[in-house]
Amino acid sequence: MLPFEKITLNDIVSEVHDGTLLGIPADYSGVPMTFTKELIKKKVKNLKLYCLPLTTIQGDMLIGSGCVTEIEAAAVSLGEFGQASRFQDAVINQRIKVKDSTCPALHAQLQATEKSVPFMPLRGIIGSDLLEYRDDWKVIKNPMECSGKEGEEIILLPAVQLDVLVFHATKSDMNGNIQIGRRRELATLAHASKKVFVTVEEIVDEDFYENEVNAAATLPALYIDGIAVSKNGAWPCGLTGKYNPDLEELKNYSLAAKNQNTFDSYMRVFLNSDNLKAAQ
């Protein structure tokens, strides 16, 4: 008996349903692209994406494939390859609802769930138009006498709990603990999700808790509902310390995504590509 749930990509995909609120890691946190591929193949609909705090190709592909009806994010772009065209197109044509946010608010809403409190306060935001369109954010006057500025207005952000989080990581140990290094936003995401699945490059025959330094870089198995091995699972995105982004492929995508027809052609090839080969 393995001490954790070793599963397949398809097992993970089967946990995502129409309407699922799905956690989306930033491009630096381990983008689960092989999972995304399978998710698109399943033709799941009405996903709500919660980005911490932004998404690049993963979000744009899901949107272009018609899987998404709502997205909460501080930014959607293709980074140095410019704007995320499928996202832009869906917004302009009102096919998706955008809950426009700002990075620290997206972090704080998950921290509220992490601590199991109904809300988190945050400074800033007031006076921006973001607030005008967020019924779920609330402005109060600071009720404290001994801390903060007297009478200052402050925003309360709701606790948000994700239905499912999927991210890609370098490795898990034999007990199902995940090495996340400095990407501690993945811990916050995991703490705030009902279910957490991870794709990894490999499962190694080690115990990350055997020394304190390794332990410090670890997300405990306690929060993980299943792990699937997926070699080059972030491709064409990069994976810190393992491989760089495939700049050529990302550029190709950015060009193809400019209109729906060329996007569709690109996706037909992409969805049927062999990931192992694709990543060289």
Partner: protein
């Protein structure tokens, strides 16, 4: 461009570098090669003087020492530990409001851009925010932005130690007067005069008594930039470094 064969980007880097000389900690966000290079250049020049400037470049593994995850930039800034940060804007208006979301009548936009990133906190808490937007036109510098990602100024009942101090474009450098809520033209790019700026700017601004031209970098600074900083920039903005320095 001149006899040093100066690239225009190098000139912008040098102008930004001059704005950082009294800082202790400069942070640079995503997709900002020119600010990133300017911060590293300032750090190197301070080091030569025996002084210390800390530079955090988010997009880099080597120049990002944060260990508390992606939220640490925002917490660190809110704690008052970052002196200078750079922000851009699809539109920037007369009161230094910035728009990173899109043009048109939100949510029914004509054109959608990435989104507000961390601006709706960083603009409030970092004492010296430098707005950097290369394109200088009536399209980018407008009377009133279509969407406020983050406002230039705030009411007194808000906690707001931070805000805009400068705006740099490829044509001009403005300072921002927080009390008067107005930009002030400080410097213009080579070959550009005050009248040219007026024609391409969509908002009103004050004029400094003595409007100068962008100062060219010294030979010494340019040497440091090309020999020491350029290879560093290659690590986190390879395409930019290649285009400017290594092709």
């Amino acid at each position: 461009m001149n006899k040093l064969d100066l690239k225009f980007e190098e000139l912008l880097i040098s102008i930004l570098c001059d704005l950082l000389s009294n800082d202790n900690h400069v942070a640079v966000g995503a997709a900002s090669p020119i600010p990133g290079a300017a911060a590293l250049l300032a750090k190197e020049e301070q080091k030569i003087k025996g002084k210390k400037l800390r530079v955090t470049i988010l997009h880099s593994l080597r120049f990002n020492n944060f260990t508390d995850g992606a939220r640490e930039l925002f917490d660190c800034a809110a704690q008052g530990r970052i002196d200078t940060f750079f922000l851009g804007g699809v539109q920037i208006d007369e009161q230094a409001n910035i728009n990173l979301v899109g043009t048109g009548d939100y949510p029914n936009l004509n054109k959608r851009f990435s989104g507000s990133f961390g601006s709706a906190l960083m603009y409030y808490v970092v004492p010296k925010v430098i707005l950097f937007r290369e394109e200088h036109s009536k399209r980018t510098l407008v009377k009133k932005v279509d969407f406020i990602s983050a406002p230039g100024v705030s009411d007194k009942n808000l906690y707001r130690p931070g805000g805009p101090k400068f705006l740099l474009t490829n044509k001009a450098l403005f300072s921002f007067n927080k009390r008067k809520k107005v930009f002030c033209l400080e410097k213009t790019a080579p070959g550009i005069n005050q009248n040219d700026i007026e024609k391409i700017t969509g908002f009103k601004y004050d004029l400094n008594n003595e409007i100068k031209n962008f100062t060219y970098p010294s030979r010494e600074r340019l040497d440091i930039l090309r020999k020491v900083i350029a290879p560093m920039v290659s690590e986190f903005y390879p395409n930019f470094a290649k285009r400017i320095w290594f092709r």
